[in-house]
């Protein structure tokens, strides 16, 4: 080996891997940061997962169905029913709802067609509506009847009707013939009403006017009187020229009018065209209220009469407050009228029954009717009769003014108890829902002769 032999240096030993030197300060800082990061990172997930921070979910709303025609010939009358129902439920919701739950009123349009009333009722009940409010004509009510009976849900019906019907699942808030037709005929034939004995009956051609007039004929017959004639037109028809000619030819001294909806426009226009003087041949209507008057020309209707349980001009503190509340919401040119007041009372009677029952279930609510529910309505105190599921009614006669309002010219002091089957027209029939339900008598043909 030569001297200049390269000597390789000993390879340097590989440095021992040393544990990194971490200062206590750095360890503390990074540890705290990691802890903070982990806590911060997990918190939103945990919060969100537990839904903490999201607004508390309110108890589910309770669905109710409002069955009022908003288009078609009955819209003139029943749109205001929808409004008063909405107003009632809005007030109830503003006060916290019923049993802590808000009410969700749904108002589809049955378009004045009975087949659509049945269809809409079924749709609402399929969606879970606990009760239905509305209907106007008896045809629409009778179309809905089998549906509420099938679903075992209640219908609250506010309009005056012919009686001769009782259903476990209908609460009737309108006047019956014994609460409207009888006192009307009493008044017309009395000195206060002008002692008018030659009465002509005119109506729309469906079940209410037909039955109401049958009852009227029987009542008049019991007084020894006979109507001077009868005439019917299809619901929605406006051509009354022939009818007015018939009235004038009959020698009648008054007319009992059971025409419904905007057909009244045609009737009063034809009477006006024939220059009928309301002092000599007054028309007493059963289905004309303030709401219908807004579509009638004052010069055509001034001086005629309407029979009802309520008029806007009723002088009471309760009524003034009610009108103010409605107008504040819907406009100061809006009016209140007969079926609106009963519908308001029916919504509140239902509320009372649900609260008493502690449940929205139909049978529980019906049980709550049994003790006789009462409500201080704008037209006076209302009591629900558990036997008939009808309400007692005040009777008032209004004379139409030029400002589309009524002067109350006659009123009974005490309310009249409901009788859906007046024995003079329906012998043997009766109803008591606290016992056996309907007692059947002999079948009565409403188109038959008296």
């Amino acid at each position: 080996m030569s001297g200049d032999e390269i000597t390789r240096p000993e390879p340097a030993p590989l440095p021992r891997r040393q544990a990194p030197r971490v200062s206590r300060r750095r360890a503390l800082t990074e540890g705290a940061a990691a802890t903070l990061a982990a806590a911060g990172a997990l918190s939103p997930v945990l919060f969100a997962g537990c839904s903490v921070g999201l607004p508390k979910r309110e108890p589910p709303e309770v669905l109710v169905g409002l069955l009022n025609s908003q288009t078609g010939p009955m819209a003139i009358s029943s749109t205001s029913l929808r409004d008063i129902e909405l107003h009632a439920f809005e007030q109830i919701n503003a006060a916290g709802g019923i049993l802590g739950r808000k009410i969700d009123p749904r108002a589809p349009d049955p378009r004045s067609r009975p087949d659509l009333f049945a269809k809409r009722a079924r749709e609402l009940l399929d969606k879970g509506a606990v009760a239905l409010f509305g209907c106007w004509t008896s045809t629409s009510r009778k179309a809905v009847l089998p549906i509420v009976e099938e679903f075992k849900k209640l219908l609250f019906y506010p309009v005056q009707y012919e009686g001769n019907e009782s259903s476990r699942y209908v609460v009737y808030g309108g006047t019956l013939p014994n609460q409207q037709i009888f006192p009307t005929l009493d008044w017309m034939t009395s000195a206060a009403g002008g002692s008018r004995k030659r009465i002509f009956l005119v109506g729309s051609d469906y079940v209410f006017p037909r039955t109401a007039n049958l009852i009227a004929k029987k009542y008049l017959a019991a007084k020894g009187l006979k109507p001077m004639g009868e005439a019917y037109v299809e619901l929605g028809d406006r051509d009354f020229t022939a009818v007015v000619k018939k009235i004038l030819a009959s020698g009648a001294d008054s007319v009992l009018n059971t025409v419904n909806g905007d057909s009244n426009l045609g009737l009063f226009a034809a009477l006006s065209d024939a220059k009928v003087d309301p002092d000599k041949l007054p028309v007493v209507s059963t289905s004309v209220a303030e709401d219908e008057l807004r579509s009638l020309l004052p010069k055509q209707v001034r001086g005629h009469y309407a029979a009802g349980c309520y008029f806007q001009t009723l002088d009471s503190e309760e009524n003034r407050k009610w009108i103010e509340g409605f107008r504040r919401e819907f406009g100061y040119d809006r009016v209140t009228g007969d079926p609106m007041e009963p519908q308001w009372c029916l919504v509140h009677l239902w509320k009372k029954a649900v609260e008493k029952a502690g449940s929205f279930e139909t049978e529980a609510v019906r049980q709550a009717f049994r003790d006789g529910l009462e409500f201080a309505g704008p037209g006076g105190p209302v009591r629900l009769d558990p036997k008939t599921q009808h309400t007692n009614k005040f009777f008032r006669m209004g004379r139409i003014r030029t400002d589309r309002q009524f002067d109350i010219v006659y009123a009974l002091e005490a309310p009249i108890e409901p009788d859906p089957y007046p024995q003079i027209a329906f012998p043997g029939w009766g109803v008591d829902w606290t016992k056996d339900g309907v007692t059947r008598g002999a079948e009565v043909d409403i188109n038959g002769n008296v």
Partner: protein, 270 residues
């Protein structure tokens, strides 16, 4: 645990949370995600990049490049969402304006047509404010306004003009009514308009890639938490802004019923 994220109701209910609080949730969610990843995923991901020389520079270049595209995407989406809200707002204003003009037109109709139509128009406006708007805010298309519009139409065609002046007035009122129906239909169509799910997927994936790139930086842990946290927080705020504008009738950046309220107030002054 995370099933709630798949529930559409959870996201709808988020709109009911006050804006500031909701912004905070988005911010915390993004920062939280970044921090969790920094603790648990960053050490694992950095194994792939640590041996590469100048790894931070490379990650920085890629992040810059990515941010340009992602920023553009976010910007365009935000503009689209805002335009959606602005269009809905314009339609609402036009509908309210045509309603107001129609109200004035029918006020000149002879009675009882004029009064009946005024009542119906007021009723429609009230319904929109009291019933339709709360439903729209819940993403539900209100149905009963159509009934009210039909009732107005029915009453309008019932009117038979008797003079040439009434004919002109009636023609103008019908023209207003048709315009009103058109704007109404557009309002209803915009109730459910929102960014498509694909856009949300791209946007959220972009945010995740952004954050993943930040995890690849080699720096002190505290610095990583701070700088990346700031970026994640800003991403959360921007995505919250888009979420807020996503549906025209929900959230803070949404269309209010003010135009209808003004018309209703005017109607009730008569």
């Amino acid at each position: 645990m995370f099933n709630f994220l798949l529930d559409p109701d959870f996201w709808f209910r988020l709109y009911e949370v006050p804006s500031l609080e909701r912004t905070l949730y988005f911010l915390l969610a993004f920062v939280g995600f970044y921090w969790i990843g920094s603790i648990f995923l960053r050490p694992f991901l950095r194994q792939f990049i640590r041996p590469t020389p100048a790894a931070n520079d490379i990650v920085g270049y890629i992040l810059s490049c990515f941010c340009v595209f992602y920023g553009l995407l976010l910007g365009l989406i935000a503009v689209t969402a805002y335009e959606n809200v602005a269009d809905a707002s314009a339609n609402v204003t036009r509908e309210a304006a045509s309603l107001s003009a129609l109200y004035e037109d029918v006020s000149c109709y002879p009675e009882p047509y004029g009064q009946n139509l005024r009542w119906l128009l007021r009723d429609y406006t009230r319904y929109v404010i009291k019933y339709a708007w709360p439903l729209q805010q819940r993403g539900i298309v209100p149905e009963e306004g159509t009934i009210r519009a039909s009732a107005i139409h029915e009453k309008m065609v019932e009117f038979q003009p008797q003079t040439p002046a009434q004919e002109i007035l009636h023609a103008e009122a019908l023209r207003q009514f048709n315009g009103f129906l058109e704007y109404r239909r557009m309002r209803l169509l915009s109730v459910k308009s929102a960014l498509p799910a694909t856009m949300w997927t791209v946007m959220l994936l972009g945010a995740i890639f952004n954050i993943v790139l930040c995890w690849l930086f080699d720096m002190k842990f505290v610095t990583q938490l701070l700088l990346g946290g700031i970026l994640a927080a800003y991403l959360g705020v921007v995505i919250h802004l888009i979420f807020d504008m996503n549906q025209p009738f929900r959230g803070d950046v949404s269309v209010s019923s003010e135009a209808f309220e003004m018309v209703y107030k005017r109607m009730n002054e008569d």
